[in-house]
Subunit: 204 residues, 3 copies
Amino acid sequence: MTGSYSLLVADLIGVAVFAASGASAAIAKRLDLFGVAFVGFVAALGGGILRDLVIGAVPPLAFADWRYAIGAVLAAVATFWLHPQLNRLRRTVLLLDAAGLGLFTVTGTLKALHAGVPPVGACLVGMLTAIGGGLARDLLTGEIPVVLQRDIYAIVALGGAVAVTVLNWANVADVITLGAAAAAMTGVRLIALRRRWSAPVAVP
Amino acid sequence: MTGSYSLLVADLIGVAVFAASGASAAIAKRLDLFGVAFVGFVAALGGGILRDLVIGAVPPLAFADWRYAIGAVLAAVATFWLHPQLNRLRRTVLLLDAAGLGLFTVTGTLKALHAGVPPVGACLVGMLTAIGGGLARDLLTGEIPVVLQRDIYAIVALGGAVAVTVLNWANVADVITLGAAAAAMTGVRLIALRRRWSAPVAVP
Amino acid sequence: MTGSYSLLVADLIGVAVFAASGASAAIAKRLDLFGVAFVGFVAALGGGILRDLVIGAVPPLAFADWRYAIGAVLAAVATFWLHPQLNRLRRTVLLLDAAGLGLFTVTGTLKALHAGVPPVGACLVGMLTAIGGGLARDLLTGEIPVVLQRDIYAIVALGGAVAVTVLNWANVADVITLGAAAAAMTGVRLIALRRRWSAPVAVP
């Protein structure tokens, strides 16, 4: 009970942070208020919608539970009004984004495993839950997705999804171990940011 | 019976209009005949395909009823041959597009409610039914979706979806009231076009 | 038994070829190793994922059978390391791509028919299975999809899908006739390439 309540709170924090990232990208492209709210919604919930369509959980949670949609739109609209102040909060936003990465990977991977998706597929679904919203945000704002270009981001999600799958297979997936996996992803992501780790690019 | 037949006719008119808008965008980008037909198909039926995937109605109507696909492709191919004349019909196309906006919102919202999607989610599905095709058209032709940038368009759909949800909740959703809701959306959209209403853009 | 095994082998060859095409596009855009693997995955499996969502086969084969995902990623990563040599193999890649076009159209159309999709819809699903991955590859790398712009490619898939639907309706769809349909599509595609056939573009 408490576990599922803290999961909901954690999930909604992830939704708000990803919505703010989508809204910021939309503001930078001079989209109007509706565009900002819409890109925020898609950035926050696009990964989860894709996950739910793939595992056959229809209607997706983003449409079945109003708290997700309203949370995403409120965060996007708040970003619309407050965005000059957000620049001062840049480090906080990066921290929360790293937390969202960990949380969305854990919940996405677990939902796929519980829906009967085999291990390799479940890891991919978990990773897509975490990066799908950012991919859609970049496509809607006319950019090649940043997650494909530089930085260690999706790889952290994939590694975390493998860890969750192993924990689940070993029957030790509980609030403590899954929380540790999410925290480890967040930590690796923050270290990667600080050390400017990036993946190799092919020799032209 | 007559109600469902007039609904089909209204739906196919919306399909044809949206296919013409997709075909026009594809012609402007110098796509070939297949590209014009494909973008027309996606502009006309993309919103409905998304709606049906989200509510679990598979295969989506665009694949289950041949009249939709054939109607969209015929309208797109006709636009390919007739497009210089279409410029003279610009006001007619805008009028039909506004009618399509109202009709697609009504049918999308109702189908979501009947599939058991809760109210907030059903309003979002109704709006996505109306704007999804235009979004996909713009992504396929390399543009940031116009619906996110200016004009009052999606907001009209969202307001209409709320009205349909209230009518359905009050048990007064019939051909008369739903037709009035669609007509009201069309009217507001046309007034917004004439008065050049637009949503606010964030201060940079 | 042997039929389904050779179908799997043929399917995996198609996956590898389309993954190499996606990886090449990603390398040209200077994406990092993860981006190359991801675009390869989407180019190889995006069409099949769309097909499976539309016919309600969840989770899609790309997530349900690990050989597809691993095959796509291995082919993409191999392309990352070997891509300068691939230029010398350009004719081989075009040949394999034409073979993939035929194979994906046959399997996509058949799966749709077996899932109960009516003929017109099944032809569209078969064509989308063959072109969907390339469409997603181009969107992810910021290009207007090449299949919409020039060349005879999707039309070959659509013609082949109609042939498969007729064979199935006449109850003569077996390994021989379907293999002949796939080979015919491959042949027409190669002739279209050599003769530089292309679809008409609208007069501006």
